[in-house]
């Protein structure tokens, strides 16, 4: 085919807002495509929880930062002859462009496969992009940068009113505004120039439709559009933040094909080889359009389009990069037709982003041009109401669907005019309260067709039914409008179970249809399925008798904080192992950004809800041996008891055991019975009782409310006053809504044990140690394996406790226990009877695939053996990835609530080496000169003293405020005095931050001094806003300085994963 033999593939690193698990999917597909051609694949990606970094996919895996420095060193070592830049998101693309710019690719004679750098540049550089499209008469938004009011007026006249005025370089949209005439413009320009010397005058495209096409082109200029998608939210909301439907719903044939023609013309002009995405603004009142942008790489949208259509875009793109033509590649779904075609859908797919903004008190909730969502769901069905209500349930935010929900926090006008995650519910509510489609359209500019559909769903809830008069026609219509059994039960004032029963009696069951890319025109072997109530027959046969060689896996749902790609890895690994053991695998999941929803990793993929109702539907239809729900995190785990009660067979530990672990009271009494220590706790129903209990166990205390009004669910309180304030203002405390209060242990170490048990016996385990002290959520903690600072006695106790619990609950399968250790005393703080977030980490770090053992144990294979997991010849450190820069207003702190969006892990010969590599893998830049030191409490200042001395010795300038500065001086450490923000004196921290004079900010929170904590927030936030590296934990700060002292960057070894075994 091609002379290429050794290919370097760049991954996207940790999951972050804007770059999630979709790149594990595209990278894994690329590796598969390349391996089929017998190529040698070298992968660089520090994201240890991905499928692509698995042992038997790529030939070499480097868990190293995807940046030019490390990539060059890997190139130097591996000498690949070519490189792929399009499969690792913007991270890989930017890295590739930089490698090209610095001449590194040329130096080592590495050829870029697929779309060439010149083409990528033309799509990335705004000015080049506009010029190129101008050449072929394709319209882009008119925009002009001006530096004076008179130029601004001239520009506006050229562009034509209305215009948008944006102040350049300003944060958070300060100084932006709209003008419809010259008078308004004059005022707007005056204001904008007060913020910035440069102002952008742009044409106003608000209210235009936003449409995307996924385009594929091969090296002989065959060019197709695989999918088009329409945003529910008009222009102004980032496509990653929009509700998106595929195919487009409100476009006529003329519009659809006009945009398709432009897509193909543009992509041919840019000479893309492989896959790309093009975004349009389309005037809702004419055929006028603008091209917004082109992404010359696999993207979130392309992953979505792959799942929407069943067309494997990343796989095909990789083949095209090798020089294949579209007409030579088979359609992997039909296996009968070829890849040079455009899928015809006979269903619709709807995506809704998953936000997690409630985790971040103070964050700006407005949804706009910047991404804030952390994941997404996709629902497939045969009508808009069906997919909309399905998708809302899939979000798992406590909603039963669009209507009939419990909590109602939305406000009609505010939430419709200004988009927030509540917009959809606000629209539905507006209809309920009598607003017309026209009125809602005026406020939102959302196309009326969508609004009519929402109105239809909402209108149906007026149906007058009760448990005695429900008929089959009513039920069918409800189901076709996407109502769940639960919603119908609320309408009819009866139980969900009753609705299910009569629905079955009336034989109203979902049909399971195939996604076959050709709308049934050709027969297809496809195993990619969805459910619908708009059907009279299923495409797949019902299984009549239990199939003992068939196992159903419940996936992990949308990515959100706390449940990310690691659970997808667990599910994929489970599927692979089961198939290896000769089982047929049924996968149920609905997250389009995953490998688990790739239809070739299982025997049947149900792209479906993980609700009790739907899981039972599938279970009854498929009759598997049983369900594995311990791999997908908390969503499937929460179904355990409900499924058990419905008579479903759960593989692994008994649901009764799961229940005992999930129920705080039950678990606590088990620990008491086994004489295992736990932090003191109680469940309380009034502020007085809470105060009394806190006094008894002594502050600080940890609060876990069951009903949160605002802010996060967990909170640490240090005194009476803050306890009272929190309980009064942020949560409800009553007999119905109790608050759990427990002792918050300060200065304790946190240790985790991940393991696999069988029939109550411990079979394999790994112990990891947190670098931060207890109090930092385990998902945000920096983990090291093997543990570095544990006493032999502590390890002994941990094992003893673990074994006792396993035996007591008779556990089989994966589990995770979290411990606190202080002064040789070990307490249990949490027990998860499922695979945990750290399973991929411990599996890859120890070389034993824990999930494979777990699968075998659950199916009764013997896994007894001697596994060496404590005494390793190398060290592996896992570091969290935060996305605070995307979440304006949020406080970048480490606390009891998780806030990281992803993770990386790197190997090293020492903890310092592994730590430094991981830290760099999260995008951290090493300081060159100036470091700001703001440590909250005296203990922290003293703990850091030696580190400060090292920094001084290395020649850094340390800036500190009065007290710390004094302490440094007294200890003969050089330091520069800088004033606190609140002191309003110069040189001031604020000023230095805003002028980017620091290369690093080290901050630790004060638990006592609340005034300086106010400054602390501003310092942390400004550091993030001005893109200054931030370390916000004392233990991490100390480890960082030690690592920096011990290692120069060129001393960090370039070794692939297998070289550490």
């Amino acid at each position: 085919m091609n002379l290429t033999n050794k290919i370097l593939l760049l991954g996207s690193g940790a999951l972050k807002i804007g770059e999630a698990g979709e790149f594990d999917y595209s990278g894994s597909q690329a590796i598969k495509a390349l391996k089929e051609e017998g190529k040698y694949v070298v992968l660089i990606n520090p994201n240890i929880a991905t499928v692509q970094t698995d042992k038997n996919l790529a030939d070499k895996v480097y868990l190293l930062p995807v940046n030019p420095y490390f990539v060059e060193r890997v190139i130097k070592k591996e000498r690949p002859d070519s490189i792929l830049l399009g499969f690792g998101g913007q991270t890989a693309l930017n890295c590739g462009l930089e490698l090209h710019k610095r001449g590194i690719l040329k130096k080592y004679n590495v050829k870029v496969l697929g779309t060439q750098v010149d083409s990528i540049n033309k799509t990335e550089d705004r000015e080049l992009f506009v010029n190129e499209l101008d050449k072929i008469d394709i319209k882009t938004p008119k925009s002009k940068a001006v530096t004076s009011i008179s130029d601004g007026i001239k520009a506006a006249k050229e562009i034509g009113f209305p215009v948008i005025i944006r102040a350049g370089f300003s944060l958070g949209g300060l100084g932006s505004g709209f003008s419809t005439n010259e008078k308004e413009l004059l005022n707007a320009l005056k204001e904008a120039f007060s913020y910035s010397p440069q102002v952008l005058v742009e044409e106003d495209l608000r209210g235009w439709k936003e449409i995307e096409y996924e385009v594929v082109r091969d090296c002989i200029d065959n060019c197709i559009t695989v999918c088009n998608m329409e945003n529910f939210d008009p222009l102004g909301v980032h496509t990653g933040e929009s509700i998106v439907i595929a195919p487009s719903q409100t476009l006529s044939n003329t519009e659809y094909h006009m945009l398709r023609d432009i897509s193909i013309k543009a992509i041919r002009h840019f000479k893309i080889v492989g896959e790309c995405n093009i975004q349009f603004a389309l005037n809702p009142a004419s055929l006028d359009y603008r091209v917004i942008e082109v992404n010359a790489r696999l993207s979130r949208s392309s992953a979505l389009a792959s799942k929407v259509t069943g067309y494997p875009l990343a796989y095909i793109a990789a083949k095209l990069a090798l020089g294949y033509k579209l007409t030579e590649l088979k359609n992997s779904i039909t296996k009968k037709t070829y890849s040079c075609f455009e899928p015809a859908l006979d269903y619709v797919a709807l995506k809704i982003p998953r936000w997690d903004l409630a985790k971040f008190p103070g964050v700006d909730e407005e949804i706009g041009s910047r991404m804030k969502s952390v994941g997404e769901v996709m629902a497939i069905g045969r009508s808009f109401p069906e997919v909309l209500q399905k998708a809302i349930r899939m979000l798992q935010v406590g909603k039963y669907g669009l209507v009939l929900n419990k909590s109602k926090t939305e406000t009609i006008k505010e939430d419709i005019v200004t988009p927030t995650p509540r917009r959809l519910f606000a629209i539905s509510r507006a209809f309920r309260e009598g607003y017309s489609v026209e009125e809602v359209h005026e406020m939102s500019k959302i196309d009326k067709w969508f609004l009519y559909q929402i109105q239809m769903i909402d209108g149906f809830r007026k149906a007058r039914v009760n448990r005695n008069n429900i008929n089959s026609e009513f039920l069918r219509e409800a189901k076709q409008l996407g109502y769940s059994d639960k919603q119908i039960s609320l309408l009819a004032n009866t139980s969900e179970d009753y609705i299910r029963k009569i629905r079955k009696r009336y034989k109203i069951n979902p049909c399971f249809k195939q996604i076959d890319t050709l709308a049934a025109e050709y027969p297809a072997e496809t195993n990619y399925l969805y459910s619908t109530y708009h059907g009279s027959a299923s495409d797949v046969k019902r299984t009549e008798k239990i199939d003992k060689k068939k196992v159903m896996i419940l996936g992990s749902g949308a990515y959100k904080i706390g449940s990310s790609v690691e659970f997808d890895w667990c599910c994929v690994t489970t599927a692979k192992k089961l198939r290896e053991l000769g089982y047929k695998v049924i996968m149920v999941n609905y997250n389009p950004e995953t490998v688990s929803t790739d239809y070739d990793i299982c025997d049947k993929l149900y792209f479906e809800e993980l609700s009790l109702e739907r899981v039972l539907d599938i279970y009854e239809y498929e009759q598997p041996l049983g369900i594995i729900l311990s791999m997908g995190g908390q969503i499937p785990n929460n179904l355990a008891m409900k499924l058990h009660k419905a008579g479903v067979r759960i593989l692994g530990s008994s649901p009764l055991s799961i229940d005992k672990c999930e129920d705080r009271n039950k678990f606590s009494s088990i620990l008491d019975k086994l004489n295992i220590i736990q932090p003191e706790w109680e469940e309380l129903s009034s502020i007085e009782k809470a105060k009394a209990f806190a006094k008894k166990i002594k502050f600080p205390v940890l609060l876990r409310p069951s009903y949160v009004l605002s802010g996060t669910a967990m909170k640490v309180c240090y005194d009476d006053q803050s306890l009272e304030n929190y309980l009064k203002e942020n949560v409800q405390i009553s007999k119905e809504h109790k608050v759990v209060i427990s002792k918050f242990e300060e200065g304790a170490k946190e240790i985790e044990l991940d393991g696999v048990a069988q029939d109550g016996n411990l079979r394999i385990y790994a112990i990891t140690e947190h670098i931060e002290n207890a109090g930092v959520h385990s998902g945000d903690a920096t983990l090291v394996i093997p543990p570095q600072k544990l006493y032999f006695e502590t390890v002994h106790q941990i094992k003893k406790i673990t074994k006792a619990i396993l035996r007591e609950l008779n556990i089989t399968g994966p589990f995770n226990i979290q411990f606190l250790a202080k002064n040789n005393e070990v307490k249990v703080i949490e027990f998860n009877l499922r695979a945990s977030r750290s399973f991929p980490f411990v599996s890859k770090a120890t070389g034993y695939n824990f999930i494979e053992y777990a699968v075998k144990s659950m199916l009764g294979f013997n896994i007894e053996g001697d596994y060496k997991t404590l005494d390793l010849d190398h060290i592996c450190v896992k570091a969290p990835q935060f996305s605070f820069s995307r979440l304006s207003g949020a406080d970048p702190i480490l606390g009891v609530e998780m806030s990281s969006t992803g993770e990386v892990a790197c190997f090293g010969e020492s903890m310092e080496e592994a730590f430094l590599k991981s830290l760099l893998s999260t995008g951290f830049r090493l300081p060159q000169k100036n470091i700001l030191l703001t440590l909250g409490d005296l203990e922290d200042k003293i703990e850091f003293l030696e580190s400060a001395r090292m920094l001084d010795e290395m020649g850094f300038n340390i800036y500190a405020t009065t007290n710390t500065h004094k302490l440094l001086c007294n200890n003969n450490i050089n330091g520069h005095l800088i004033y606190k923000i609140s002191e309003k004196k110069s040189p001031n921290i604020l000023n230095y931050l805003e002028n980017r004079k620091f290369d690093l900010v080290i901050n630790s929170q004060s638990t006592k001094d609340l005034i300086s904590e106010k400054d602390g927030f501003v310092i942390r936030r400004k550091a993030i806003d001005y893109n200054i590296p931030l370390i916000n934990n004392i233990k991490i700060a100390v480890l960082f300085v030690r690592s920096l002292y011990n290692y120069k960057i060129d001393e960090l070894e370039i070794k692939s994963m297998d070289e550490y075994e």
């Binding site: 659809y256 007409t327 859908l345 269903y347 009326k448 067709w449 009519y452 050709l518 027969p523 495409d539």
Partner: protein
């Protein structure tokens, strides 16, 4: 909406019955039941004369979303109405899964429901169109009826393909279309077997004068001058177009460029001496990949139930395009003379515009 919906039935010749609800005319109709997998363009499809005599099933499940452009603007002779492919609905019935009673589009003047009602065409919605499509795919297209009341006994429907449908749908006397505000570059004699408006638009836009004549028109006895002959698309079995085939055979002797589309391609094949046959379920979609002999692949819009049998092509003719999915013929051409035809629809509407260059080719050949 649930209060007013009326049940209607779709019954196939093989006895299968699908129950749904009425939209458009509440009444009965019969025809050959065929499916189309396109995702947009229902006004264009419904007015495509190639569907004459057929009941059209849309596999895309959401139909009616963007309404229908103003169809009351009756165009004058020599003018073509935008958004439609002929001056009336050509199908005998429409079958959809979800009909959207509420529509939204700047160009819409009414709903699909109203248009069907005014055109007196029955529609049925609320049925499993995927299941229906699978039946048609495996058993082949077959006659069927939309009916308000199920009657006992076997369904007896005359096969529309036994008639010369082209002759029924074409113009009855010549119509001339001229480019606006400029002198025509070329004159095309367009043999109308049920031509789609967009074919005429494509020629006129390129500066041609189009003389649209009935399907039985004999180019050798013409009172018009012309530089090339075009044989259009149209409904039914090409072998029923006996006089058109005979006329075209004689026209080869004129040695001027001849271009055919769809039915026109089959007629050209038959005139050249090749044979045609009925496909099991035809190609009716907007995503058919066709490979030109040079290796390039084009995504095309198609609507045909018959095809040229390549093996029967005489030796001075050759295969030009081939379907990348099933290998059937998608175009033929004469090895030395400017006679060529394609099975797909370069005029699209609905569908992709990738092969519009064929119109340029014909213009250049003249």
């Amino acid at each position: 909406m649930q209060n007013i919906r009326k049940k209607v039935y779709l019954r196939l010749e093989n006895g299968l019955i699908f129950t749904g609800y009425s939209f458009g005319l509440y009444g009965n109709t019969q025809g050959e039941v065929v499916f189309n997998t396109g995702m947009t363009g229902y006004p264009e499809s419904l007015t495509d004369p190639s569907y004459s005599g057929q009941i059209l099933v849309f596999t895309y499940p959401l139909i009616g979303n963007y309404g229908v452009p103003d169809f009351r603007n009756k165009s004058e002779a020599g003018e073509l109405q935008n958004g439609f492919e002929s001056n009336k609905i050509q199908v005998r019935g429409a079958v959809v899964s979800n009909y959207s009673f509420k529509y939204s589009h700047f160009d819409a003047a009414s709903s699909l429901d109203v248009w069907l009602k005014e055109s007196r065409i029955p529609g049925i919605y609320g049925i499993d169109t995927r299941e229906l499509t699978k039946v048609l795919r495996t058993k082949g297209v077959m006659p069927g009826e939309i009916t308000t009341q199920l009657k006992k006994g076997k369904l007896i429907i005359e096969d529309p393909n036994k008639f010369n449908l082209a002759d029924e749908v074409c113009v009855q006397s010549p119509v001339i279309y001229k480019p606006k505000n400029k002198k025509p570059r070329k004159k095309i004699l367009l043999i109308d077997c049920g031509v789609k408006n967009n074919i005429i638009r494509n020629f006129v836009e390129r500066g041609a004068e189009v003389i649209r004549v009935p399907s039985i028109f004999d180019p050798l006895n013409s009172e018009y001058d012309f530089d090339g002959i075009f044989v259009s698309n149209g409904p039914g079995d090409p072998k029923m177009c006996k006089s058109t085939i005979m006329n075209l055979k004689k026209s080869f002797d004129l040695n001027i460029p001849i271009f055919g589309i769809c039915l026109g391609s089959q007629i050209m094949g038959l005139s050249a001496g090749a044979d045609t046959y009925k496909l099991k379920f035809g190609h009716r979609s907007q995503n058919q990949p066709c490979i030109e002999d040079k290796g390039r692949c084009y995504i095309t819009s198609q609507n045909h139930g018959y095809a040229v049998n390549t093996k029967t092509l005489p030796k001075d003719w050759e295969e030009w395009f081939i379907n990348n999915n099933d290998g059937t013929n998608e175009g033929i051409k004469h090895k030395t003379k400017p006679f060529f035809a394609v099975q797909f629809h370069p005029e699209s509407s609905p569908g992709p515009n990738d092969t519009g260059w064929l119109f340029d080719k014909f213009m250049d050949e003249m």
